[in-house]
């Protein structure tokens, strides 16, 4: 469903991604790991359509469409979802109102009828149970004053509401304790299916104890330098990223 070919991108003239190749099929879970500064979050941002990043080469095809040609909202409409590393706080806008607009905008994009208030509430209730989030959180201003765990749980809730084909989790574990990671991961697993895929971006292996990947890729210096199964994550956990530098130097 996702085909990234020789993707090159940067910000303010600085090249960060230097030719990424990655193919993701429906039902798969891929993990991208790598040290700080390797380009993990840049990849997530470019896929979601953040305008301050400039794509300088390569292509990304998502469900048969040229992803890079689409606006961020059209990407969401096509079924792409990015769980933010730093979810934005928006005082004065409740998660419920936000999601009501988002769900219906996405439905419009897909040519589906919009939900009325009752239908929306039903959907919301169902997804709240699925990802185990409290209603009080959803009536408050979006992310304002939320703890790190609450913010990430809210991201997972939004993901459940929008039912994406491809979910990208950008450092969803960062800043969370193990209980919060477990809750967030349980939410992610609850919405997984054969039709949709997940791309987990993480620095540490620990999230992958709960969201088991089919493939693990190591990103270093803007390139995927190593790919393997879930055991690669464990290997990295033991040896750290320092081996990369050695391998790279030799190569």
């Amino acid at each position: 469903m996702l085909q990234i070919k020789d993707l090159q991108a940067g910000i303010e003239g600085k090249e960060i991604l230097k030719g990424i190749n990655l193919t993701i099929q429906p039902g798969e879970v891929h993990a991208i790991m790598g040290p700080n500064g390797s380009g993990k979050s840049t990849l997530a941002a470019v896929l979601a359509g953040r305008s301050d990043y400039e794509v300088t080469g390569g292509s990304v095809e998502f469900l048969g469409k040229d992803l890079l040609d689409l606006s961020p909202e059209a990407r969401a409409g096509e079924g792409l979802f990015l769980a933010f590393q730093y979810p934005v706080e928006i005082p004065g806008l409740s998660t419920i109102n936000f999601m009501k607009t988002a769900v219906n905008e996405v439905r419009k994009y897909r040519g589906e009828p919009t939900l009325d208030a009752a239908e929306f509430l039903k959907l919301m209730k169902e997804k709240m149970n699925l990802v185990n989030i409290d209603k009080n959180l959803l009536t408050r201003s979006l992310n304002e004053g939320f703890s790190g765990g609450e913010k990430k749980r809210n991201e997972v809730f939004q993901m459940a509401m929008l039912e994406p084909r491809l979910a990208i989790l950008d450092e969803t574990d960062s800043g969370l304790d193990i209980d919060a990671i477990r809750i967030a991961a349980a939410g992610v697993n609850a919405v997984r299916s054969k039709e949709n895929a997940t791309l987990v971006i993480t620095h540490y292996q620990r999230l992958l104890d709960y969201i088991i990947p089919d493939f693990v890729h190591v990103l270093y210096n803007g390139r995927i330098v190593k790919s393997g199964g879930k055991e690669l994550a464990l290997e990295l956990e033991e040896t750290g990223y320092s081996f990369l530098k050695n391998e790279m130097n030799i190569a």
């Binding site: 305008s51 909202e73 409409g77 979810p87 004065g92 994009y109």
Partner: protein
């Protein structure tokens, strides 16, 4: 003859025609106006608001027109069926069009109030705003005092339904200069909700110079809402001057959505201990609209609380001005005064001038102030768009969420919904 001289002539003529109890006040005010003139740009308080240019054209002055063929009803506020409605046409109170329903509410021509049982209140409080607005414009209003109104809320009465004040200008034939004037007295332990709105009919230019003075007695409460959504050919200087003479509560919200040149003076004189006053404002401007909010909080006595929060959204080549003065007199110990002004500029040609001004002569007080000017949050915009929300709707959601904490200060549901609708229309959602 210049417009200013014509206006003065009319004021003098009034002096000859109307020999009522207000005559000495008019005469004194005209002398003041003679002396002060119209504030020029070099006047510090009028630096950004060139009110003098409004006097460069001819006006029909304060003429009452028949309401039979004037569709002032188009400006009625929601739930008017049960409200008290006071109608000013071209600055002159029109009793025939007005309706006073609530028990305990007294509405009188000001000159009548000046000689009956309210005489002492009128003589004590009418013109008090001049002490704070020593700039000619205020004196000009007082030099006319025709078709002015006294609103009295009787002691221990909670006025059940709001008072709606419609300031309507009929500019179908000529440019209009209107000077509505109201003195409101909220007696001990009384409560009232007052909503003012403005509407212009016809395509001529309108200039309204309004003064509202409100006296709030011991244990009294007032909510005051000003909704400005007039045409792009309507300018106004609108002064609302509160005088809290007993421990009392004032809640004022100013919503400014349209107009040519709009200057609001909101004064809060806290002359008793343990007064509380809230001042909220939202200005949302576009095109070449100019909205200026000048506020004064004067802490005369100790233990008072004032809370001020203004927000602005400026688009097109519009201009916003916020000037918030807080005086804390030497005796006014243990007061709390908060002030905040936040602005979002949506275009490169919009501008905002914001200035907090604190003058504190007491040593045991808590005062804070702050102002921000920024652009629409790009991070927030991307966050919303990444969830499938189009850029236009995302912008409108973000701006609405920015405005909402002011909107929430409008307590009557019907009025809040009405303003919310105006804002949503403006946001195109």
């Amino acid at each position: 003859m210049s417009t200013i001289n014509i206006i003065k002539d009319r004021a003098r003529q009034l002096g000859a025609d109307q020999l009522d109890a207000l005559q000495p006040i008019r005469t004194a005010a005209l002398a003041s106006f003679d002396k002060l003139g119209v504030p020029a740009v070099k006047h510090e308080e009028w630096k950004y608001t060139r009110v003098s240019q409004l006097f460069n054209q001819a006006y029909q002055i304060g003429a009452d027109t028949a309401t039979s063929d004037l569709n002032w009803q188009a400006f009625r506020l929601p739930e008017f069926e049960t409200a008290n409605e006071l109608v000013f046409i071209n600055g002159v109170y029109n009793a025939a069009a007005s309706t006073v329903r609530s028990a305990g509410l007294v509405v009188l021509p000001l000159q009548d109030a000046a000689q009956g049982e309210y005489a002492s209140i009128v003589s004590k409080h009418l013109g008090h705003s001049a002490q704070y607005l020593n700039d000619g414009i205020n004196a000009l209003n007082t030099s006319f005092l025709v078709g002015s109104v006294f609103i009295g809320v009787n002691r221990s009465t909670e006025i059940e339904h709001p008072i709606y004040i419609y300031n309507i200008n009929d500019g179908r034939k000529e440019n209009v200069f209107a000077q509505p004037r109201t003195l409101v007295h909220v007696a001990e332990n009384a409560g009232v909700v007052l909503v003012e709105t403005y509407g212009s009919i016809g395509s001529a230019d309108h200039f309204t110079n309004q003064v509202v003075e409100v006296v709030v007695e011991q244990d009294a409460r007032i909510e005051y809402y000003k909704i400005q959504n007039d045409s792009a050919r309507s300018s106004q200087v609108s002064t609302t001057h509160f005088r809290q003479v007993g421990k009392s509560y004032v809640h004022a919200v100013t919503i400014s959505l349209n107009g040519a040149m709009v200057r609001n003076n909101l004064n809060m004189v806290m002359e008793a201990e343990y007064c509380e006053s809230n001042m909220y404002g939202l200005y949302f401007t576009s095109d070449s609209c100019h909205i200026d909010n000048h506020t004064i909080v004067d802490n005369v006595k100790p233990h008072c609380l004032s809370n001020e929060f203004y927000k602005g959204i400026l688009d097109g080549s519009s201009t916003g001005v916020f000037n918030g003065k807080i005086f804390v007199r030497q005796d006014a110990q243990k007061i709390n005064a908060f002030q905040s002004n936040k602005n979002i500029l949506l275009s490169d040609t919009a501008s905002v001038y914001t200035k907090p001004q604190l003058e504190i002569f007491a040593d045991d007080v808590k005062c804070s102030h702050g102002c921000t000017i920024g652009r629409l949050d790009e991070e927030g915009l991307f966050y919303l768009r990444s969830r499938g929300i189009t850029e236009a709707i995302a912008r409108s959601l973000l701006l609405h969420s920015f405005a909402i904490d002011i909107l929430e200060q409008v307590k009557p549901d019907a009025i809040r919904a009405y303003i919310d609708q105006l804002i949503s229309e403006r946001l195109g959602s």
